[in-house]
């Protein structure tokens, strides 16, 4: 069986080698190639979400490239693997700006990677449309080329603490974060607002540990909080929740949108059933227009769309619309014209209507509180929507 797979790999490599030169011949006949790059972790522990971003973009290009191809352009997706690491993201970004055909970047998954990478995009005024980055700094820098279609952590943290105080009636909370820009950021917003609402913060710890959480759990258990909040990503949160429950921690668990992946239940199983998390991206089932997207995605790639796949799809459609606007009259697009056109896009996608404000935030963003429904990773899409809020992005602080 393994041998058969190996053969398949070799056969497909050979086939690819044969196809590639032909593709470049076809290039010569058209007006040129327009490339859209994705940057997301395609390998490593966060690959589940990162691949969703790539596949969402791929689906969007295949469906909406028609008008551009009619105008004589060839449209291509160039996926990059940022490995969820800032240094890799920046190195990729340098390659991206060097490729003059790339007009838009869709990505990243991690705010800590998006911030340094977008500094590179800014040099070339290359538009970055983020499907998933929630850290406020992303847009608060006021760069003209940076956009996102999702909400922000300074709002998400507050949505979380409101839910903790109002619905869960938590009196005390123990906060753990992963020391990344994203995780620590959202944990601090949660903490600040929880304290205002009178929830006692019993502990605030950062850790990069991935397997052995014993020494963190022991003092946490002794302090006996009502709620444990994990600011971070599922690959760390899942074993942490699992070990905490196994060690007898009885608190409720909660976290931000970094937990939003079927891998959370794959790793933590029954432990996380019934726990709440906030998100800027609801499961596909909460968007009425997204049903068709989910079906096509499943048909094409053989799996359910991960969270942010639909956002990546919408980001890519916005990118295509902007490129179309920039090529009106048969002009070749430039990065400046495309970046300018993104800001003017008004588009109602499968995840809602998008219209950018002056910073590049969506004028109105959706925030959700969700509840894990089942310990079967296949049923991640069935997670219940407990609360939905539409909140405008905070104005720029200046």
């Amino acid at each position: 069986m393994r041998l058969a797979r190996l053969r398949l790999v070799i056969a497909s490599l050979v086939a690819l080698a044969l196809v590639l030169p032909m593709a470049s011949i076809a290039d010569a006949q058209s007006k040129g190639t327009i490339k859209i790059a994705t940057q997301s972790p395609l390998s490593g522990g966060q690959a589940a979400l990162g691949e969703g971003i790539k596949l969402g973009a791929q689906l969007a290009i295949e469906k909406f490239k028609g008008p551009l191809e009619k105008a004589g352009f060839k449209v291509e997706l160039v996926p990059f693997d940022d490995q969820a690491k800032p240094d890799v993201g920046v190195a990729n970004a340098k390659n991206i700006i060097a490729d003059k055909d790339i007009m838009v970047v869709v990505g990243h998954l991690n705010s800590g990677v998006a911030i340094p990478s977008s500094e590179v995009y800014k040099e070339a005024n290359l538009a970055m449309i983020s499907p998933a980055n929630t850290n406020p700094t992303i847009t608060d820098r006021g760069y003209p080329n940076v956009f996102r279609i999702c909400g922000r952590d300074d709002v998400q943290g507050v949505v979380g603490s409101e839910f903790a105080a109002g619905t869960l009636k938590a009196k005390s909370v123990y906060i753990i974060h992963d020391k990344t820009t994203y995780g620590q950021g959202v944990a601090e917003f949660f903490k600040a607002d929880a304290e205002k609402k009178g929830i006692k913060v019993l502990g605030f710890e950062g850790t990069e540990e991935k397997s052995n959480f014993d020494p963190i759990i022991t003092p946490m258990k002794a302090k006996n909080p009502n709620l444990v909040y994990f600011g971070g990503i599922y690959e760390q949160a899942a074993p942490f929740f699992k070990q905490a429950r196994e060690k007898g921690v009885k608190a409720k668990f909660m976290g931000p949108d970094g937990l939003d992946s079927s891998d959370l239940t794959k790793i933590a199983g029954k432990t996380v059933v019934g726990m709440n998390y906030t998100s800027v991206a609801g499961p596909v089932s909460v968007y009425p227009q997204a049903k068709q997207f989910a079906e096509e995605y499943k048909k094409k790639f053989g799996k359910n769309p991960e969270p942010f796949a639909a956002q990546a799809y919408d980001s890519t459609v916005i990118a295509l619309k902007a490129i179309e606007a920039a090529t009106k009259g048969g002009k070749a697009p430039t990065r400046d014209s495309v970046t300018g056109a993104v800001r003017d896009v008004r588009y109602t996608g499968i995840t809602g209507a998008v219209e950018f404000d002056s910073k590049g935030d969506p004028k109105k963003a959706l925030y959700f509180v969700l509840q894990v429904a089942s310990d079967d990773p296949q049923k991640w899409g069935d997670n219940k929507e407990v609360k939905r809020l539409t909140i405008a992005a905070p104005a720029a602080k200046k």
Partner: protein, 323 residues
């Protein structure tokens, strides 16, 4: 500062530290045995360790898929995965030695070290490639065995899960067995002879190459067993999980006195305890100014202090005399 809380969690922290310490000790043995014989640091040992964990999880998943995991008694399953992990990791260590170290045995000492670092990277990505083709997975989860998750409550705040007891008992058994093999048997004597002087040992009719292979086999098998126990205890592994525990275990071996088998055990325990206490107590003692994220800095600062006063490690380095 809450004194009651500090005292209340003390036994639990002690237990966490001991379990972590035994884990480090088992891995450290692989470093220390090879160093004792070849005076060479086998940096690929952290990957040999994690391969054991992968063998364990693959067997458990296969058993679970076949519906046998619930039916078999847990002791049998545990013995099966421990043995399989030891065999595969031991064999891998022997192959690595044959391919990557033996051709370089007479080269300057930095050369095999670099070769070892290369093997380490190679194995990490080989595991990743294999798992993504085979399972399409990066993080693998150990299936839960209910018997191992049973908790013995001692007091309201202190309890010991079955799996931690298993880790401690298995580690003690293996350390005892290793000590006996190296100290009491003829094979052990031959290994020690090779460690002392390869040329003289070969003149006495000892097959030096075979003894070196055997050293790698034993060290690798210990690493493999540690890998399986690591997986059972902490539940989640990925191809890069081995690196950090490997580095810490290497530190433990140096702390105890590299080349010294009881030293590796002691070093592992000291490092495990330091880490556990630092992680649990730092934030309580400093009122949140220093948190658990400083555990490694604290543990390694203590380590540097120890090594300043005892540069050859707690129990002293055991290295052959060079003429």
């Amino acid at each position: 500062m809450d004194l009651e809380l500090l005292i209340g969690i003390f036994p639990q922290v002690l237990l966490d530290g001991i379990i972590l310490g035994f884990m480090y000790a088992l891995i450290a043995l692989g470093y220390t045995m090879v160093y004792g014989v070849l005076e060479f640091i086998n940096f690929a040992h952290s990957e040999i360790f994690i391969v054991g964990a992968f063998v364990g999880v693959e067997i458990l998943l296969a058993l679970k898929g076949a519906g046998l995991l619930e039916g078999l008694p847990w002791m049998v399953v545990l013995l099966l995965i421990l043995t399989a992990g030891m065999v595969v990791s031991g064999a891998l260590a022997v192959v690595v030695e044959r391919v990557a170290y033996r051709p370089l045995r007479n080269a300057p000492r930095l050369i095999p070290l670099i070769s070892a670092i290369g093997v380490s990277f190679f194995l990490q990505d080989a595991i990743r490639l294999f798992e993504s083709l085979w399972n399409n997975a990066f993080n693998l989860v150990y299936p839960t065995m209910d018997a191992l998750n049973h908790r013995f409550e001692i007091t309201e705040t202190i309890d010991i899960p079955m799996k931690s007891l298993v880790v401690i008992v298995a580690a003690l058994l293996m350390l005892w067995a290793l000590h006996t093999i190296v100290g009491r048997t003829k094979i052990g004597k031959a290994i020690r002879a090779v460690a002392e002087d390869q040329a003289a040992a070969s003149l006495m009719g000892i097959n030096v190459n075979r003894m070196i292979s055997l050293t790698f086999l034993i060290g690798g098998a210990m690493g493999g067993a540690a890998g399986v126990l690591f997986g059972i205890q902490y539940g989640l592994i990925n191809p890069y999980t081995g690196f950090i525990p490997g580095l810490k275990a290497f530190t433990a071996a140096v702390l105890g006195g590299i080349g010294n088998i009881p030293g590796a055990m002691l070093g592992g325990l000291v490092l495990g305890l330091l880490e556990a206490f630092a992680a649990s107590y730092l934030s309580l003692l400093t009122g949140g100014a220093f948190g658990a994220e400083y555990k490694d800095i604290f543990a390694f600062s203590v380590l540097i202090l120890i090594l300043i006063f005892r540069p050859k490690g707690l129990l002293g380095e055991v290295v052959r005399e060079r003429a």
